[in-house]
């Protein structure tokens, strides 16, 4: 599992363009690269959905090829034509959900939005996405970090993108001496709350966590009063 460090911590120059950032992290980037929506009914997508469902029910480790091909309505032979093995299939399912998640974040991004608004909008879009697809939410947030090298690297890369966005708050920070790890801690705190909600079987109600997550991500940079104001504003 690769460690997460923000450019601030690693000493890299902050990246201006989100697109460049995503490319550097080797995440699926341009819209034309994006896979078809998950509702489409190709064999491949049915397999990916079945993979996510099985991970949600019994975890990646316990998932067998039979658990995937049966609900997907495809043969084993078809599975192995499309994917090398279980890990390869999981990877593809992860790519699909991560591309989707990153597209939401990019969608919320705009250079003229104030930083705190960007954080609010990105967090809301991210939670809405996870809430609308509980099985994928579980795969991306719970299974991925623990499911082998490739998947955990993708998960880490996604977190680095979010961290770089969040750490732009340093430009407006009211306290110059906040530790380099402040953004990483805030994201870890938000992540742990989200994972807890998913593990408790309440992924559909992830949006309820928005005021908490807005507070914890803004407070290190803008302080308690501003963080509370933004948190209350998203409560409605």
């Amino acid at each position: 599992m690769p460690a997460i460090r923000s450019p601030h911590e690693s000493g890299e120059a902050p990246q201006g363009e989100l697109g460049g950032l995503i490319e550097r992290e080797r995440l699926p980037s341009g819209r034309e690269d994006l896979p078809e929506p998950i509702v489409a009914h190709s064999q491949r997508e049915r397999i990916l959905v079945a993979m996510a469902d099985s991970c949600a029910n019994k975890g990646f480790g316990a998932t067998t090829i039979a658990d995937i091909v049966r609900p997907a309505g495809v043969s084993r032979a078809t599975f192995y034509e499309l994917f090398e093995d279980k890990e390869d299939c999981f990877q593809a399912a992860m790519e699909l959900s991560l591309a989707d998640a990153m597209e939401r974040v990019v969608g919320a991004f705009s250079p003229d939005k104030p930083w705190a608004t960007l954080v609010r909008d990105s967090a809301a879009a991210f939670l809405d996405l996870l809430a609308s697809r509980p099985a994928f939410a579980r795969m991306a947030m719970v299974e991925a970090p623990a499911s082998g090298q490739r998947a955990s690297e993708m998960h880490a890369a996604g977190k680095r993108v979010l961290l770089t966005l969040l750490d732009r708050g340093r430009d407006e920070a009211i306290e110059p001496a906040i530790p380099a790890s402040a953004g990483r801690a805030a994201i870890a705190g938000a992540e742990s709350l989200i994972v807890g909600q998913i593990l408790a079987g309440n992924a559909e109600r992830l949006r309820d966590l928005l005021p908490d997550i807005v507070y914890i991500t803004i407070v290190p940079y803008l302080g308690q009063e501003e963080a509370l104001r933004h948190s209350r504003e998203v409560e409605a």
């Binding site: 599992m1 690769p2 460690a3 997460i4 019994k58 975890g59 480790g61 316990a62 719970v142 970090p145 623990a146 920070a173 009211i174 306290e175 001496a177 906040i178 530790p179 790890s181 402040a182 990483r184 801690a185 805030a186 994201i187 870890a188 705190g189 938000a190 992540e191 742990s192 709350l193 994972v195 807890g196 593990l199 966590l209 005021p211 908490d212 997550i213 507070y215 914890i216 407070v219 290190p220 940079y221 302080g223 308690q224 509370l228 948190s231």
Partner: protein, 221 residues
């Protein structure tokens, strides 16, 4: 000779730290603990159950040390600092235990992850005392302490994964900031880190929040 169960759990901590959970076999565990397979299955139905029991025993050790250090101090920021220091020192002294409790546990499966969360959340009441201490405590979001715990364990896990186990005690300032900032804001949290290793005067930390601007500098009598 120590009881078989105890030997087995210690063996599990060592072997899992060495080989990882997935690669560990019941044969490894019985060999390391010098017990028979029959004895293993009398104690636990499978590898996962044994691992979870080992995890529970590790958590007990950690919680005992954290709570003892925490309760030895009077005011909340010092209590938080003492508890975090005890956690970091224990993890640095016991790398195998650290990996099992903070990293390996998340790769074992849903049951282990739930167990991990329950264990982590035993820290939330300690952190939530910050609510009574902080001027804005009653207005903070409901999940503040859960997120503070998540921030602390996330930073520790990142360092363990990066192989910085021995340097964990250096993380104290970062963890202290992560715990304090939601309760007292960034100025007071940074000030509290500056008070640093030297034992601060108890009177010097009673008024967090914006009032810190008027506080005497760190270390002054």
């Amino acid at each position: 000779m120590r009881p078989q169960r105890e030997r087995l759990l210690e063996a599990a901590v060592r072997i899992v730290a060495e080989k990882g959970y997935a690669a560990t076999t019941i044969g490894d565990l019985t060999r390391e603990a010098s017990i028979s397979r029959t004895t293993f299955y009398e104690l636990y139905p499978d590898k996962e159950a044994c691992f979870l029991a080992a995890f529970d025993s590790v958590v007990e050790v950690l919680m005992r040390r954290i709570v003892r250090a925490y309760e030895a101090e009077e005011h909340w920021p010092q209590r938080a600092r003492a508890g975090l220091r005890a956690l970091l020192e224990t993890l640095a002294e016991e790398p195998a235990l650290a990996r099992l409790a903070m990293v390996d546990i998340s790769s074992v499966g849903p049951a282990a992850q739930r167990r991990h969360r329950v264990a982590m959340q035993r820290l939330t009441p300690l952190f939530d005392e910050g609510r009574d201490f902080a001027p804005r405590g009653h207005r903070l979001p409901a999940n503040t302490s859960r997120m503070a715990v998540g921030g602390v364990t996330g930073l520790i896990a990142d360092d363990l994964v990066a192989g910085r186990t021995e340097q964990l005690p250096e993380l104290l300032g970062d963890l202290l900031f992560a715990v304090l900032v939601p309760y007292v804001g960034p100025h007071a949290a940074v000030e509290e880190i500056r008070l640093g290793e030297g034992r601060p005067q108890p009177g010097a930390v009673n008024g967090p929040g914006p009032a810190t601007a008027g506080r005497p500098p760190a270390g002054s009598p």
